[in-house]
């Protein structure tokens, strides 16, 4: 009798631990400067009031993977996400590019070195994600090999993907081109900077969460 009650209690504790563990690891991936951190910040601010990291027009601003746990409520449903903002992935990094943004040579070289390590760190974390948001700058050519490599790896690892076409507030933005480049995927056009169309973004994330 006593044992039975005890078992029931343990069972509840275990199931509670299990429930708490069901955090969805939501990765933000993409090329440098696409707006990964801007988007992650907006989401974090909406639900916690705090940001995840710094944003800059200088590429490779994020050079370490950064995390934040948040509860997102959307249309009466609540889910716990572990937000994972990653350094932009590139195939080349030249410190001289940073000099254009008036960085001192020494700082530019340091930034470049940290950026190369950041790319490696991003790739290392890819396997660990439950869902990945691929953030693309909708004013840039989507047929960039980095985009194809990231999405190819997610497909091979069966990780659900959402493609975000960011910066739709800009005149040059072309969502159609991104949709044409990745016809098998849902593409959500947003502006992370101005918070446009975030509703559709949350809707898509909750939909993808059911698949995992």
């Amino acid at each position: 009798m006593v044992i039975k009650i005890f078992k029931g209690f343990i069972g509840r504790v275990i199931s509670n631990i299990f429930k708490n563990k069901k955090k969805i690891k939501l990765g933000f991936y993409g090329p440098p400067n696409a707006g990964k951190t801007s988007l992650a910040n907006r989401i974090c601010k909406d639900f916690t009031g705090e940001e995840i990291g710094s944003v800059s027009k200088v590429p490779h601003e994020t050079r370490n993977v950064q995390f934040k746990e948040i509860e997102i409520s959307y249309k009466g449903k609540t889910m716990i996400f572990k937000m994972v903002d990653t350094p932009g992935i590139a195939t080349k990094i030249d410190y001289e590019e940073f000099l254009k943004y008036k960085l001192k040579k020494k700082d530019a070289k340091k930034r470049a070195k940290e950026a190369t390590q950041g790319v490696i760190e991003s790739i290392k974390w890819l396997d660990d994600m439950d869902i990945v948001v691929v953030v693309l700058d909708s004013t840039e050519n989507p047929y960039n090999q980095v985009n194809i490599t990231i999405i190819g790896n997610l497909v091979a690892r069966k990780i659900p993907v959402l493609i975000v076409a960011n910066k739709i507030d800009l005149k040059k933005a072309d969502i159609k081109k991104i949709e044409a480049a990745f016809p098998e995927y849902d593409v959500v056009g947003i502006s992370a900077r101005y918070g446009h169309n975030l509703e559709e973004f949350y809707e898509s994330i909750f939909k993808l969460s059911k698949k995992i």
């Binding site: 195939t91 990094i93 030249d94 190369t116 390590q117 890819l126 090999q145």
Partner: protein, 135 residues
């Protein structure tokens, strides 16, 4: 056979290096990436038949990043994959599927990889590909 010293100096020209699929088909991932990077580090633009698997592509990026800063003047790579033509007979498709399953690569594709110091950009659109070189 003197070994070329690693490191990319002033650009005084470059050559284009071609590999057929049989040149890399029997290599493991590590060897394959090593071979590719060695060619690119020798100031060559590499063109090869087929394409890398997604995990090999990320491995290539990781190894490239690790080399920037260790090899003087190396700033990374530019790469593009030109996929095979979409219009294929059913027979062609079936045969390719089998070939791809065995090799893990897409034999109809062409991969272009060059050092970023030489290749400024490989502009890819669905229909055309342009190689822009640094002056």
């Amino acid at each position: 056979m003197a070994r070329k010293k690693r490191g990319i100096g002033k650009i005084e020209g470059f050559s284009i290096h071609f590999l057929s699929y049989s040149d890399i088909k029997n290599l493991g991932t590590t060897e394959r990436i090593k071979k590719i990077l060695n060619i690119v580090l020798g100031n060559n633009i590499l063109i090869f038949q087929g394409r890398l698997r997604p995990d090999e592509e990320t491995r290539l990026i990781e190894d490239t990043m690790a080399m920037i800063g260790h090899v003087s003047n190396f700033k990374g790579i530019e790469l593009a994959v030109v996929p095979r033509n979409n219009e294929k007979s059913i027979f062609g498709k079936a045969r390719e599927k089998i070939a791809n399953a065995i090799s893990g690569g897409d034999l109809g594709a062409i991969t272009i990889i060059g050092p970023a110091t030489i290749v400024k950009e490989i502009k890819k659109d669905p229909k055309k590909i342009e190689l822009l070189l640094n002056k």
